[in-house]
C-alpha cells in the first residue's frame, strides 16, 4: 500500500504556472465553514473579498466571504482575523438567467461592503445595500437595508424617459484612485420603451445619493437592436477616460444563444459589435481592456480594435476574480482562491498590476 497519494494534481500544477506570476497578498483562514453557514466543497463557490482600507490599499485581515450555494442561495459574511462576526446576510437565490444576480465589492472604509442585487424577471426590484461589520460588537448588518435602484437617481426626467419607474439593468464598479470612493456606472432603461440612459454614482461608505451624473447628458437612445426589446439585464461597463460604453449580452437578438459584446461611443447610434470579444465580460479594466473569466479561463481583450481582439488567455482553475482596485496608486487585479482542507476553508488572495495581467497568458 502506498504511504500516501501522489503529491500531484495536474489542474493545480497548471494553475500554479499562473499563480507564480501573481503576487501572493495573503492567506485568510483556516475558517470553520460552519461558522459562516457555509456548506462544504463541492456545493459551495466561495470568494473572499478583502477590505479596501480607505488608505489606498487593501487588507486581508478583514473582508467579506461571498458564497454561492445552489442549495441555499447566496449570502455574504463578514470575517475579521479569521473569524466570522454577526449573521451572514442572505442575497437571495442564484440567477435563473445567464447573468450573475449580484455585484458585491468592499468599499473604501473600514468593514463596509456594497451589494447590488438584480431580479431576473422584475428589474424594478433591482436594489443595493451597504452593510457594515463590527468585530467589537460581533455584528454584521445593514443600517439602511436594501434600497431600490430605480427611484429618482437621475435628475429631471425628460420625456419620454420616466425615471420614477426606470429600470437599472446593469451596474459596474470602476476603480478610482480617490482613497475614499470608487465609481459606479448604471444603465437605465425607460419604463416601457427602449430608451436608455447612463449614469455615474459614487460608491463609498455612504449611501448612494441622487442625483448622479448622466454621463451622456439626458439624451436617450435605443440600443434594443443588440440588448433586446425591453431588456431586463445586461452586463454594463463605462470607460470614463474614453467615454466608451460596453455591454455583454447573453442571447442578443443579433447574436442569439451566445455571449456577444457591444460598444457605443455616443448617444447616437454609433455602435458596433465586438465580434472578436466572444465571451462574457466581467470587468472593464483601467487599461481600457475587457476582462472575461467565463469558464474559469482568463481572457483579456482589446476593445479598441475595430471588432475587438483577444490579447491573452490563461487558466484560472478555481481562482475567482474579485475586482480591480488601486493599491498604492497602482491599478491592480485581485483574485481569491478557496482551499478546502478537511473541514476547514482557507482563502488565498492574489494580485497583479492590471498592466501586467496579459503576462499571465505568456
Amino acid at each position: 500500500m502506498t504511504c500516501s497519494p501522489p503529491p500531484f494534481n495536474l489542474a493545480i500544477s497548471n494553475f500554479a504556472k499562473t499563480a507564480k506570476k501573481l503576487t501572493f497578498v495573503g492567506q485568510v483562514g483556516p475558517i470553520n465553514p460552519g461558522s459562516l453557514n457555509l456548506g462544504s466543497q463541492g456545493n459551495e463557490d466561495v470568494v473572499f473579498i478583502p477590505e479596501k482600507d480607505g488608505m489606498g490599499g487593501i487588507t486581508t485581515q478583514s473582508g467579506f466571504v461571498l458564497t454561492m450555494d445552489p442549495m441555499s442561495g447566496q449570502q455574504i459574511s463578514f470575517v475579521s482575523n479569521n473569524a466570522g462576526y454577526g449573521s451572514p446576510m442572505p442575497l437571495g437565490p442564484l440567477s435563473t438567467d445567464s447573468y450573475p444576480n449580484f455585484l458585491v465589492q468592499s468599499v473604501k472604509s473600514t468593514h463596509n461592503v456594497i451589494a447590488f442585487q438584480f431580479d431576473d424577471t422584475t428589474p424594478t426590484n433591482n436594489r443595493y445595500m451597504l452593510a457594515t461589520g463590527n468585530p467589537g460588537a460581533g455584528t454584521f448588518n445593514s443600517p439602511g437595508g436594501w434600497i431600490v435602484l430605480n427611484t429618482n437617481f437621475i435628475n429631471a426626467p425628460v420625456p419620454p424617459f420616466f425615471f420614477t419607474n426606470a429600470r437599472v439593468i446593469g451596474v459596474s464598479i470602476y476603480p478610482d484612485p480617490n482613497p475614499a470612493l470608487d465609481r459606479s456606472y448604471w444603465l437605465f432603461r425607460d419604463t416601457g420603451g427602449n430608451n436608455y440612459l447612463e449614469g455615474e454614482f459614487d460608491v463609498s461608505q455612504n449611501p448612494i445619493t441622487p442625483p448622479g451624473i448622466a454621463v451622456r447628458g439626458l439624451a436617450t437612445y435605443d440600443i434594443s437592436s443588440f440588448v433586446g426589446n425591453l431588456a431586463k439585464r445586461v452586463l454594463y461597463y463605462f470607460n470614463p477616460v474614453t467615454a466608451r460604453s460596453y455591454v455583454s449580452v447573453w442571447n442578443s437578438p443579433a447574436s442569439p444563444g451566445v455571449w456577444s459584446n457591444w460598444v457605443w461611443i455616443d448617444a447616437v447610434p454609433t455602435n458596433g459589435q465586438l465580434t472578436g470579444v466572444d465571451h462574457r465580460i466581467d470587468a472593464l479594466l483601467t487599461t481600457g481592456e475587457l476582462f472575461s473569466t467565463e469558464g474559469n479561463i482568463g481572457r483579456v481583450f482589446d476593445p479598441t480594435t475595430p471588432t475587438g481582439s483577444l490579447e491573452a488567455t490563461f487558466p484560472l482553475s478555481d481562482v475567482r476574480f474579485i475586482g480591480e482596485v488601486y493599491i498604492g496608486g497602482t491599478p491592480t487585479i485581485l483574485f481569491s482562491q478557496a482551499l478546502w482542507f478537511g473541514n476547514q476553508v482557507t482563502f488565498n488572495v492574489y494580485s497583479i498590476p492590471t498592466s501586467q495581467l496579459k503576462t499571465l497568458g505568456q
Binding site: M1, T2, C3, S4, P5, P6, P7, F8, N9, L10, I12, S13, N14, F15, A16, K17, A19, K20, F24, Q27, Q41, G42, Q337, L339, W340, F341, G342, T346, N348
Partner: protein, 397 residues
C-alpha cells in the same frame, strides 16, 4: 611464501577396536552409474581404512537396503559394526556433493551430518584417487569424541592452509591471524586440525570474501575474488507504489558514490477501495550522493544519501516542464542493503522528502479536499513527507 605452525593433538586413549559400516547410495538421478557408485564406495572405504588406523571398515554399497537410520543400525549390527557411515552422492551444476551422516551405535548418538563438496565432477578415473581427508577427519573426530575410541586414532595436528589469491590480498583467520598474499599470490596459515575455520580476504578494488574450510590435512585453496563494481543499478518502489530506477557511480570505491535516478508516477500501485493503480504525468529526477557506513560483506550494510529531486510534468497540451507548483526539493535517505552477495542485494530505505512549494496552500490542495494525508506536514512554502519508504534491489554493474 607458504609457512607452517605446529600444534598439539590429543592422545589416543582406549584400545577398543571400532568397526564401521559404510553405506553409499545416491539421490535419484544422482548422476553416477552403478559401477561408479561402487568405485566411489571403495574409494571411501580405502580412505577410511588408510586414514584411521585400527578401524575395521566394511562396505555395504549395493545392498539395496533402505537408508533409514534404524535400517542402517540393523545392517551395521548384522555386519558386526558399531558405527555406521551413510554417504549419499549427488552430482549437479558441475559439483560433486557427498552428504554424509555418522552414527555411533555404542553411544546411540549421531556424530555428524555434513555435506562435502568437490568443486568438479569426479570422473571414473579420478574417483579412486580422490582424497577424502575431510571425511576421514569427520569420522576420526567422531570416534575420538565418544568414549570408545579406535586404537591408533590420530591426535591433533597442525596443518597448513595455503591460500591462492590476488597479490596483496589480506587474509585474516581466527583469532586475528593474518597473512598477505605475496607477489606470487600465495599466503599460508596454519591451524590445529581437524577443524572448521573461517577466512576473511580483503583487497582494495575487490569484494571481500569470507570462506569456511574444514581442515584435516594440509590444503590449498583458491579464492575467486570479484572486482568491485564502480557502477550499480537500483530498481525500487517509492512509497511501496511508484517505480524508481537509479544508477550509482562510486567516487571512492566501495564507499562514496553519486546516484542519478528517476521515479515515475505514470504508473503506481494504489490499493484503495476504488482503484488498484494510479497514473499521473509526473516524474522525479533525483541526484544524490551517498556513503556506505559499513563494509560490504556484512549482512546489513547501512548507508545514507542526500540529494535533490526535480519534478517534471509531461502532460502535452496542458503542461510540460518543471512543475510550477513545486520544482522539487531535497531528500534524505537512510537505508540498509540486506545480504552479502556481490551479485545483488535487496535494500530498504527510509526517505523523508522536503518539497518546495511556490504558492502557499496549493501543494496541500493538490491532495484534494480531504484531511491532509498521513505522514505529511505543510508550511506556506514547503511540504514535508516524513513517512516515506523505498524498497528495491541493487545490482552491481
Amino acid at each position: 611464501m607458504p609457512f607452517t605452525v605446529s600444534a598439539q593433538t590429543a592422545e589416543p586413549s582406549s584400545g577398543l577396536q571400532r568397526s564401521l559400516l559404510l553405506y553409499v547410495d545416491q539421490q535419484q538421478k544422482g548422476g553416477l552409474t552403478e559401477n561408479q557408485l561402487l568405485v566411489l564406495s571403495r574409494s571411501l572405504l580405502i580412505s577410511l581404512q588408510a586414514g584411521i588406523p585400527g578401524i575395521a571398515v566394511s562396505d555395504a554399497a549395493g545392498s539395496g537396503q533402505s537408508a533409514s537410520p534404524a535400517a542402517l543400525s540393523d545392517l551395521a549390527l548384522k555386519a558386526g559394526a558399531d558405527f555406521w557411515l551413510w554417504a549419499q552422492v549427488s552430482v549437479d551444476a558441475g559439483k560433486t556433493q557427498l552428504h554424509v551422516r555418522g552414527f555411533d551405535i555404542l553411544a546411540q548418538e549421531k556424530k555428524f551430518d555434513a555435506t562435502l563438496t568437490r568443486e568438479s565432477l569426479l570422473s571414473p578415473l579420478e574417483l579412486p584417487f580422490e582424497k577424502w581427508d575431510d571425511l576421514v577427519s569427520l569420522v576420526t573426530s567422531s570416534l575420538s569424541s565418544g568414549e570408545p575410541q579406535g586404537q591408533g586414532t590420530p591426535g591433533p595436528q597442525e596443518v597448513t592452509l595455503t591460500v591462492r589469491a590476488l597479490p596483496g590480498t589480506l587474509i585474516t583467520g581466527p583469532g586475528g591471524a593474518k597473512a598477505q598474499a605475496g607477489k606470487d599470490g600465495f599466503a599460508s596459515l596454519s591451524f590445529p586440525a581437524p577443524g572448521e575455520y573461517s577466512l576473511h580476504a580483503t583487497l582494495s578494488g575487490y569484494y571481500p570474501l569470507t570462506r569456511r574450510f574444514f581442515l584435516s590435512d594440509n590444503r590449498e585453496v583458491f579464492l575467486e575474488q570479484t572486482p568491485h563494481s564502480w557502477w550499480a543499478l537500483d530498481a525500487s518502489l517509492l512509497e511501496m507504489g511508484y517505480p524508481s530506477f537509479d544508477v550509482s557511480r562510486f567516487i571512492l570505491l566501495n564507499s562514496l558514490y553519486v546516484k542519478l535516478g528517476i521515479t515515475t508516477y505514470a504508473v503506481g500501485l494504489a490499493f484503495t477501495d476504488t482503484q488498484a493503480f494510479t497514473s499521473n504525468p509526473l516524474t522525479n529526477l533525483v541526484l544524490q550522493t551517498g556513503i556506505y557506513l559499513r563494509p560490504d560483506d556484512v549482512l546489513f550494510r547501512p548507508y545514507v544519501n542526500l540529494g535533490a529531486f526535480l519534478r517534471i510534468v509531461v502532460a502535452p497540451g496542458t503542461l510540460v516542464g518543471i512543475d510550477p507548483l513545486s520544482w522539487g526539493g531535497l531528500q534524505f535517505s537512510i537505508g540498509t542493503e540486506i545480504g552479502r552477495s556481490p551479485r545483488g542485494r535487496f535494500f530498504f530505505e527510509y526517505q523523508p522528502m522536503l518539497y518546495a512549494a511556490s504558492v502557499p496552500g496549493l501543494f496541500q490542495a493538490s491532495f484534494g479536499s480531504g484531511n491532509p494525508p498521513a505522514g505529511w506536514s505543510f508550511s506556506p512554502k514547503s511540504a514535508f513527507n516524513f513517512l516515506c519508504f523505498r524498497v528495491g534491489y541493487r545490482w552491481p554493474l
